[in-house]
Subunit: 448 residues, 2 copies
Amino acid sequence: MSERPSAEETRSTVVRMLTSGDDESLRAYAASLHPSDLADVLEHLEESDRVRLLSLLPAGPASDALAEMEDVEQPGALLAQLEPARIAELVSELADDDAADLIGELEPEDQARVLASVHDPVEIEELLHYPPETAGGIMTRELVAVSSELTAGAALASIRRQAAQVDEFFTIFVVDPDGRLRGVASLQGLVLSDPDRPITELVEEPPAVVPVHMDQEEVGRILSRYNLVSIGVLDPLGRLVGRVTFDDVIDVIEAETTEDILRFASVSEEEELRGSTRDAVRSRLPWLLINLLTAVMAAAVVYLFQGTIRQLVLLAVAMPIIAGMGGNAGTQALAVTVRRIALSDETTRELWSVVGKELLVGLINGLVLGLIGALAGVLLAGRPLFGLVVLLAMWGNLVVAGFAGAFIPIFLESVGVDPAVASSIFVTTFTDLCGFFLLLGLATVVLL
Amino acid sequence: MSERPSAEETRSTVVRMLTSGDDESLRAYAASLHPSDLADVLEHLEESDRVRLLSLLPAGPASDALAEMEDVEQPGALLAQLEPARIAELVSELADDDAADLIGELEPEDQARVLASVHDPVEIEELLHYPPETAGGIMTRELVAVSSELTAGAALASIRRQAAQVDEFFTIFVVDPDGRLRGVASLQGLVLSDPDRPITELVEEPPAVVPVHMDQEEVGRILSRYNLVSIGVLDPLGRLVGRVTFDDVIDVIEAETTEDILRFASVSEEEELRGSTRDAVRSRLPWLLINLLTAVMAAAVVYLFQGTIRQLVLLAVAMPIIAGMGGNAGTQALAVTVRRIALSDETTRELWSVVGKELLVGLINGLVLGLIGALAGVLLAGRPLFGLVVLLAMWGNLVVAGFAGAFIPIFLESVGVDPAVASSIFVTTFTDLCGFFLLLGLATVVLL
């Protein structure tokens, strides 16, 4: 097995060929690449070169690469820039789920135009009806299914015929005459079996199936839990309507991870990682405006205690320490809790115990940090009572942080809101507010 | 297909049977569960019940469930609590990679004891030599490989023999007499082929293979990029030593996601999501202590400007707003950049353009927020110059935030450090520091 050229080498080869204008060599070279590598090349080209390369390529490699493009904003929009006949050609080569994904991104009039030029639009139209982030939205209708009334031999013959149409089938679904899923069979089992044995004797119940409207994240969790290569998707009547494969699930897990991390940092999940400056502003500014509002709330506490600060300016020095430590401790508790909710299938009751644990963690960490802070405070202010105020404010704020970091996401989860929107903004506002209030309030009572 | 009982129903059935002491029913019921469901039950039991149930079960289901336990701290430690004969029995039933994972968690003396009681310890010992987070650490040696010198018919016969030992093989590897990987073949292709055809005519080059020392995250990226069910692992001489399957990769992606989110929030990646309070304190307190140090740096800036604050206490009110907005904008830029690095294979040069984009986003968002802040400042202080100071401080801090959020992780990546350790603590310290300095410094120059 020879060493493959790096992604960067491949990209520069294509750019060189694009520049030299040797379309024949370019066509041959690009068509020889793995679809994923070709997709990578396309993602790194300028818009105009991208359209040129896509127009140039044979339909097969071009559509395979389109299906593999993940990092670019709207490959559908790219498709829309091609000639109508070319679009129809590319879409016909795509698997139905990839075609539906691309067409789903188009403007309604473009959708109608593209669908009109496709050979068999019904399958794609049906897929377009499912919300994109459900089992129906990510499944493909292309699968291998055999009738439960066949023998092993007849089933094998049927599988051979179907296999020509389906890239990789992994699972053989067995359905009754009404299309209801009866179970799954393994190719291994069928090949090894007596050809006259009825297939019903070889059918096994799959460890799991999913309903067509199930959220894609839940589908991923189930497939991953049972280590399935593919999982059947059933309609409300129990009929097999499609399958979701492990590669779709890996894509879902990656997309959901990005979404969770972005939400955690108060970036709208719609922001493309490689999006434009304009998109970035549009996705982040609204959150910053909300944050401005919450920051004003925390600042209002400081405003109330201006008199206290004027008498003891050292409090303004302690403010960012108390608030910052609370914010970070709260973010720690939040991250652990959000991740625990995402990965486990614990009941809400079990999750509530997390709040108790986080309160305890806050009590311990707060005491340690508070004592250090108090010592520094005494040395700096020369007043033991100033140290006491710092100790109590830090301690109290860390307990509040643990509580907020665990309570907010669990509460949101229990009322059906994605806990990842309990982004650090809300937790840090809470800890800023409490930190200022504890520090300045205690100082007013104890020190003045 | 009937409705399955929920995870919670299954758990309470087991607990009921454990309490009633009807071991026969319990054994039969638990053995009938899917290994993943049984693992879930075990994870939710008390330590003593867990050992009791594991001792009670037939070896097959018990070891399958052990392999599926993910959420519990150290299933290896659980194993160590069982009788030596029982341990040997369970380990022998495990796939070699799962056995190596479990044994790898044991104390050295327990390791030797368990390995001594295993039927064929050599394979497991070899796996134990690979670092756990590499291709070698997550691969299994159990795979289906056929000699490149066989015909299609002879290869099929060989595959049938091997298939009895290997759960699911997905990929058929073709190796030359020295064990070097020559390519892969599909079962479909072999079944459909003329039995006398040499297998070399049916062999295809796999889209990718991975070296045994490759980091698991990179392995996951490659498998996911090429949508592979399993990928061959080669030693430095090009010999096939194992395979990594999609389910291992899904586990890796989930673990790395957890690690990234936790690191992002300054929690050590070792903290188990369901760990004890003690573990949580041990994992988080060191970060908070580092944070205390950095917070003191920011507070030192405030300390320097105490005189300014005394003359204009309203500055203490503006401080948390300027610093907080910068911190959140920096966290936004950080999240987008960290995720972009994690998902893409862009060159460092391409990544540097991100810094430019983030500076621009900071300029725009900073201007909008600065203008709003300035307006509020003028209304509150009654001094236009106070508004100007707020505008400039907010604007400048948002630009700094964009720069820090993008620069720090890209710099870390370029020097080979995981960018996720550029946790928000460092970015927020930076923005706190700059925010205070800009606000108080400008105020000293302009207002006093």
